[in-house]
């Protein structure tokens, strides 16, 4: 009796159909509404965290000197270029004096002329003084003669008149002499002024430093106040950092900082907070601070390079801590999903300080030992069914 063919057929059929039914069963229970949500869970522990502040800064020079003419003119010559080191008082260049020298010459000539005018006026005064003296003596004499009846009253009057005329003329001459003297003073003062201006045409380095930019070339016109050269002191480089206002109430002078230059991202440098600016930026809502390098990196970083600055605040005492991935918002409250048995419970919490790695202190709402959901595959509700796994990534989605 050949029983085999049928049994084998049934067996092969089962071998084909059974995995299909198992796959179907798997699919039904593991996807769709029947499937539980995978989550990872952690236990709340006391940890001591080190909060830090993070900001972006630019490298700046503490002092920046702009050298330029005080008067509009044409740049005559420039001796130094970008990158040159200069010493205080060094002459860097010169504006074109144009008619300045001629004006000095004119002024000198005017002074000479004024001196000559004074001499003439003095001579005139002397002359008139002599005449006045003479007519004064004459008037006196005729007065005497009138008394003696040797001369007519008319004649005495006439001599008196001559005397008065001579005196007036003398006054005029003295006044003219004064004018000439004032003019000389004025021209002399002008002379001083012209000499000052002449020296201003020279561009002088105010401090020792390095030239960072050269804006105008010789031959071009520069306006009064325009910058021709910029100089900085390379040793006075610091970083102008912007911190988000929300976090920075702990920022004080003297805190240690880590500086990462954009061009040297794997060579962090250390520094300190040198100054907190009193003026914050209301538009960008940032606080400004200045951070100095402990040791200036070699070679010097260029001005304007971006840096990332992290200021470490003092370490805090140990307190219950959760990762910020656990914190959710529900109905206007901050809280976490606590695991009780296999149910979820939304627990409102109050948070304290957090650090830059996302660890947040809990001031109210949780105790050490509470189990809290950290990561989940989808949004959770109080009715969600969960299954705890070790990790949600690396195992497929």
């Amino acid at each position: 009796m050949k029983k085999l063919p049928i049994n084998m057929r049934t067996a092969t059929l089962l071998v084909v159909l059974l995995p299909l039914l198992l796959a179907f069963g798997y699919v039904v229970t593991n996807s769709g509404p029947l499937a539980p949500t995978p989550v990872t869970v952690m236990t709340v522990e006391k940890q001591s965290i080190t909060p830090a502040l993070f900001g972006i800064g630019t490298v700046e020079a503490r002092y920046r000197y702009r050298v330029g003419p005080t008067m509009t003119g044409r740049l005559l010559s420039l001796n130094r270029d970008v990158g040159d080191r200069v010493i205080a008082g060094e002459i860097l260049g010169e504006m074109d004096p144009i008619d300045m020298d001629d004006r000095v010459t004119a002024n000198k000539a005017a002074i000479k002329r004024a001196t000559a005018s004074i001499a003439a006026a003095e001579a005139h005064v002397n002359d008139l003084a002599a005449r006045t003296e003479y007519s004064g003596a004459q008037a006196k004499r005729y007065q005497q003669l009138t008394i003696d009846r040797n001369a007519s009253t008319e004649a005495a009057e006439a001599k008196n008149q001559e005397y008065r005329v001579a005196k007036a003329g003398l006054a005029v001459a003295i006044a003219t002499l004064n004018v000439a003297q004032q003019e000389l003073e004025m021209l002399q003062a002008e002379h001083e002024g012209l000499l000052q201006q002449r020296s201003n045409l020279r561009l002088v380095a105010p401090v020792e430093g390095v030239i960072t930019s050269r804006h105008i070339e010789p031959g071009s016109t520069a306006m009064a106040g325009q910058t021709i050269l910029e100089i900085i002191d390379p040793k006075s480089i610091w970083i102008n950092v912007r911190f988000n206002q929300l976090q920075s109430n702990e920022l004080i002078k003297g805190l240690p900082a880590t500086i990462v230059l954009r061009s040297r991202s794997n060579q962090p440098a250390s520094g300190t907070v040198a100054r907190i600016e009193l003026l914050a930026d209301p538009v960008t809502e940032e606080m400004l601070a200045k951070v100095v390098f402990e040791q200036l990196p070699e070679p010097s970083p260029p001005i304007g390079e971006l840096t990332e600055v992290t200021v470490l605040l003092p370490q805090l005492d140990a307190a219950p801590v959760v990762p910020n991935a656990s914190i959710k918002q529900l109905d206007g409250q901050s809280g976490v999903w606590r695991v009780e048995g296999d149910r979820l419970q939304f627990t409102p919490i109050e948070t304290g300080i957090s650090d830059l790695d996302g660890r947040v202190q809990i001031t109210k709402g949780l105790e050490v030992g509470d189990q809290v959901v950290v990561y989940s595959k989808q949004a959770l509700t109080a009715r969600s069914r969960i299954t705890t796994v070790d990790s949600l990534v690396g195992s497929g989605s």
């Binding site: 009796m1 050949k2 049928i6």
Partner: protein, 237 residues
């Protein structure tokens, strides 16, 4: 053992079409087959042979006449039985030119299907089937599928199926046509055995020269009419 009275036809007529274009496939057929008899039905094609078979098999309604099957009048110028299918199932066995076994049932179930259709339990049906298979000497293939049997074995299974419900009549349509003379005679021998054993009336439609000599009685059919002839009745051995 049931008591049969065989099959009895009087004045059967079958007309196709109406009016001028009407054709009488059967004009006036009379036939009588007793239980235990194996008779031959011989006729050329177009003689109405197939029509007669279809009327005998209750698949076609005759136009007029009278037909008695078993001990019931089943047709008298109109079917007297409502459920022809049940009639066929319980009273007529068919053996065709080709075995026409159900390919997806094994040999036993092919035969057991009929009693199951009649309402018998599966166990009893299978028991009966096996009995018949044994009688036809094909029981050793009881669990095989029809495609695994030889032509002769399949034919024997078909005969078993025709017999399993112990119908009063078996209609065999050219059962030996594809077989060689030895096997053909073997089939006829079996039919005779079964007819005797179960007292069934068997009508064999054939034009196979090899087996015609074995019939004791033969009906010739021509142009829709039959006439009887006594056959040679040669012994089968």
């Amino acid at each position: 053992m049931k008591e049969h009275t065989g099959i009895f036809i009087e004045g059967m007529r079958k007309r196709y079409g109406e009016g001028d274009t009407a054709v009488d496939a059967l004009k006036d057929v009379n036939m009588r087959v007793m239980p235990g008899e194996v008779i031959g039905l011989i006729g050329p094609s177009g003689s109405g042979k197939s029509t007669l078979l279809k009327c005998l098999g209750a698949v076609v309604e005759p136009t007029a006449g009278r037909m008695t099957l078993g001990n019931k009048v089943i047709y008298d110028n109109g079917w007297l039985i409502k459920d022809l299918r049940a009639l066929r199932r319980d009273n007529i066995g068919f053996v065709f030119q080709a075995p026409y076994l159900i390919p997806f049932l094994d040999v036993t179930d092919n035969v057991a299907l009929l009693p199951m259709l009649a309402g018998r339990s599966n166990a009893e049906s299978r028991k009966r089937a096996v009995e018949l298979l044994e009688a036809l000497d094909v029981a050793h293939r009881a669990k095989a599928m029809p495609s695994q049997l030889s032509g002769g074995e399949q034919q024997r299974v078909a005969i078993a199926r025709a017999l399993v419900n112990q119908p009063p009549v078996i209609l065999a349509d050219e059962p030996t046509a594809p077989l060689d003379s030895q096997r053909a005679l073997s089939v006829i021998r079996i039919l005779n055995q079964m007819a005797q054993q179960y007292q069934t009336a068997i009508i064999v439609v054939t034009h196979d020269e090899k087996i015609i000599p074995t019939f004791k009685r033969i009906y010739h059919i021509r142009d829709g009419g039959t006439h009887e002839e006594v056959g040679e009745g040669k012994d089968l051995e």
